[in-house]
């Protein structure tokens, strides 16, 4: 066993931290938050291009596709520091669709998309959820009809974050209506400029944008199918395992902020940090942060050994997202009545960061597979309990 980082890993952490100290301006962090953790099309996009130039967006990819051929541990460190700084952690191309393309797609498709993703030139949109297909993803209905040399797509997606600015839809669509429901889905990359697509933004509880996407007779070339036709559900399940690798830097940051805040703020004449109840609560956050990191880096370790984390990703996702909620809940409560004040409001402690992330944390227990779905996966895949 070894729970330490190598010198190379420590060095890259320092480098990334210094990069973000310079780049993570209040404007950037605000833009990222408004785009639900995504880059947006403004300064966030410029930032990821700078990261891309250093190879930090997709460090583990082979050099020919724009990566650094690095270990997964390095990639996990970069994402953790990015999360700490309030950077764009929700990178669909780099961390969800891209790894799936690398694993399942044709060489032609890899060359078409991967280098552009790695440079930060294009971003993708997860196109999974529909109004009647949430946790039961295999129930999705959007139809991709085989018209000989193209697919004709009709239907609706929901909660597709990034759709208001990104270039490509990573779309799960039904290509076989007669097969069992999880065997009739294909994964298709759709250019968002295609005629017939309408995007309708919605604003989430955390103030970020997500979207409904409508397809009305949209023509998509057949070469845009990822891997094999009708195998899409399996690819999505794998891509979801990538998505669940939940960078925890944001909680580490609120812990640091809370230590600073309570050590410098008095209530009724007494420093908050001297209140025994507050000390217990902050220590508990520190403990859960450490626990979350053991699960986070376990995945990097497994990947570096050539294993694919499976229920381990679910464990990390459910533990981290729930621990994040507890942390921001405690953080806002420690601030007392001022804990409800929002970013840029007069009197908002830590510029409303805890309040904003409290709302975020409610979302995080649901998206990417709810806590309940994660526990199902742990029980069925991890412990071999019988399905009903």
């Amino acid at each position: 066993m070894n729970f330490g980082f190598t010198q190379e890993e420590e060095n890259i952490r320092k480098e990334v931290r210094a990069f973000f100290q310079k780049e993570a301006t209040p404007e950037l962090v605000k833009e990222i938050a408004e785009n639900t953790g995504a880059t947006g099309s403004g300064i966030g996009r410029k930032l990821v291009q700078k990261m891309g130039a250093k190879g930090w967006l997709c460090p583990t990819w082979p050099k020919e596709y724009g990566g650094l051929d690095s270990s997964e541990t390095i990639s996990f460190i970069i994402r953790d520091e990015m999360a700490y700084a309030g950077g764009p952690v929700s990178l669909v191309g780099a961390t969800m669709a891209g790894p799936s393309i690398l694993k399942f797609a044709s060489e032609e498709m890899k060359r078409e998309y991967l280098p552009r993703i790695a440079r930060g030139e294009i971003e993708m949109i997860l196109g999974y959820t529909e109004p009647q297909a949430g946790s039961d993803l295999a129930a999705l209905e959007i139809r991709a009809e085989d018209k000989g040399d193209y697919f004709l797509i009709n239907g609706q997606k929901m909660f597709n974050t990034h759709a208001h600015f990104a270039e490509y839809h990573w779309l799960g669509a039904r290509t076989d209506t007669s097969a069992p429901k999880h065997k009739g889905i294909s994964l298709i990359i759709v250019d968002m400029k295609s005629p017939g697509i309408t995007v309708r933004p919605m604003t989430s509880i955390a103030g970020g944008k997500t979207n409904e996407v409508f397809y009305d007779n949209v023509k998509v070339p057949k070469k845009n199918v990822v891997g094999e036709v009708n195998r899409g559900f399996y690819y999505i399940m794998t891509a979801l395992d990538f998505e669940r690798m939940f960078p925890f830097g944001g909680v580490r940051r609120i812990l640091d902020e809370l230590v600073r805040y309570t050590s410098t703020t008095k209530r009724e004449g007494k420093l908050l940090s001297k209140d025994p109840v507050i000390r217990q609560k902050i220590a508990e956050i520190a403990i859960e942060v450490e626990a979350a990191y053991t699960l986070y880096y376990q995945q990097a370790y497994m990947l570096d050994k050539g294993q694919i984390p499976n229920y381990q990703s679910s464990m990390q996702k459910v533990f981290s997202s729930e621990a994040a909620f507890r942390a921001f809940d405690v953080a806002t409560a420690i601030m007392g009545p001022r804990g409800q004040l929002q970013r840029s409001s007069k009197w908002a402690p830590i510029d409303g960061e805890a309040e904003l992330h409290y709302r975020w944390a409610i979302i995080e227990d649901i998206y990417g597979g709810t806590s309940e779905i994660q526990r199902n996966i742990i029980a069925l895949r991890g412990l071999g309990l019988p399905a009903r």
Binding site: M1, N2, F3, G4, F5, T73, L255, V259, T262, S263, S273, P276, R279, Q280, I282, A283, E284, A286, I287, E290, A291, T294, L295, Y297, Q298, A300, Y301, M302, D304, M315, V318, F319, E372, Q374, R375, N376, I378, A379, L380, G382, L383, G384, L385, P386, A387, R388
Partner: protein, 371 residues
């Protein structure tokens, strides 16, 4: 980063599991609750033959020079087996205290005998009005020319009835000191205490017990920082036992809910049970990683105080949650004393309260954070 055990550690784990499942079955564990000694001496001798009683002692003192991490691997298996006996008191904490504070001659004298099982040493720290914080202790040691007179009351002294020596904390004019007291000294009165797991724990009243000056362990008034480190290492060692217990509870629970049928189907197919089991696994894996992270730091000679307290705070709560859910999933049969579950659920409470509970260690974490 490496989350795997080494080949040698895997071998130690496997041989420990095989040995303990045949030599210390749960029937024996239950039997020992009413046994006068509290453990079978022949089992202890076999453990000595395996080299376990001096596992991480230096070779020149009768040990095998194993690391703290190796010890954690062995303790995890012992926790799984609910192994009764003075191993933890004698070989782990007392051995560690002697290794860290003892003079060369004390080490030479005692460590080989602890490793062979010939000598059993226990530790008397807790007092009725204080837990693990040596600042608050009341037992005192008054010095004259050649000896000290020790007076005070210690509680929860494990296996005091069979211990050849007792390492005792006391206040002297110079501050906190540690004494190695011969168990046969006059003036020591032992009273057995009834504990939640019916293990052998005693009140030890010291009434002007004469202790020669050469029995001081470490320097009078200078041991407090080292004692705190030893208590933290003991907490991590305890965590390793707890992780093993928790793992066994989960395996037992999962096996049961796959078989047990109600409403015509295995209860393990119900989502409520599945989520309980998932929560148990999350608690256990985080407990194991935090414990091994602290143990690894100890092994590597890195600063470990924060990691140790993080582990003990987390595992204290997590192990309790795991045993509570184990009862909940298995239901009625797990409530009967003949079932294995009570060994673990009661053990979780006892372990929580040993070497500092979650609140105690969270306060230490708060200090480490600079609060």
């Amino acid at each position: 980063m490496d989350y795997s055990l080494s080949e040698q550690q895997e071998m130690l784990k496997k041989s420990a599991r095989d040995f303990l499942s045949s030599e210390s079955p749960k029937s024996l564990v239950r039997q020992m609750a009413t046994d006068e000694k509290g453990f079978p001496p022949q089992l202890y001798n076999k453990m000595a033959d395996l080299g376990w009683l001096g596992l991480n002692f230096p070779e020149k003192h009768g040990g095998t020079d194993a690391s703290f991490l190796d010890l954690a691997v062995l303790l995890e298996e012992m926790g799984r087996a609910c192994l009764p006996g003075p191993f933890f008191a004698s070989s782990v904490i007392s051995g560690m205290t002697i290794m860290e504070l003892g003079s060369e001659s004390q080490k030479q004298e005692l460590l080989p005998k602890i490793a062979s099982g010939q000598t059993i040493v226990t530790l008397a720290i807790t007092e009725p009005e204080s837990g693990y914080n040596p600042d608050k202790l009341k037992t005192n040691a008054v010095a004259d020319k050649t000896e000290y007179l020790i007076t005070g009351t210690k509680i929860l002294v494990p296996y005091a009835h069979i211990a050849n020596y007792c390492i005792c904390t006391a206040k002297t004019s110079a501050g906190i000191a540690l004494f190695l007291i011969d168990g046969s000294s006059s003036g020591i009165k032992l009273t057995p205490l009834k504990t939640i797991i019916s293990d052998k724990q005693f009140e030890a009243v010291f009434n002007k017990v004469k202790v020669p000056k050469k029995s001081l362990l470490g320097k009078e008034g200078k041991v407090q920082a080292q004692l705190q480190q030893i208590m933290l290492k003991a907490a991590v060692a305890k965590c390793a036992e707890m992780v093993g217990g928790a793992q066994q509870v989960l395996e037992m629970t999962v096996d049961y809910v796959k078989e047990r049928k109600q409403f015509g189907v295995p209860v393990g197919s119900f989502q409520a049970i599945q989520h309980h089991c998932a929560n148990m696994l999350i608690d256990i894996d985080t407990s194991r990683f935090l414990t091994y992270q602290a143990a690894w730091k100890i092994s590597e000679g890195l600063p470990f105080a924060k990691d140790a307290s993080i582990a003990k705070a987390w595992v204290s709560d997590a192990y309790k949650r795991v045993t509570k859910l184990g009862h909940q999933c298995i239901g009625g049969v797990s409530l009967i004393e003949d079932h294995d579950m009570p060994l673990f659920s009661k053990g979780a409470k006892a372990a929580e309260l040993t070497f500092g509970d979650a609140d105690y260690h969270r306060e230490l974490v708060a200090q480490e954070l600079g609060l």
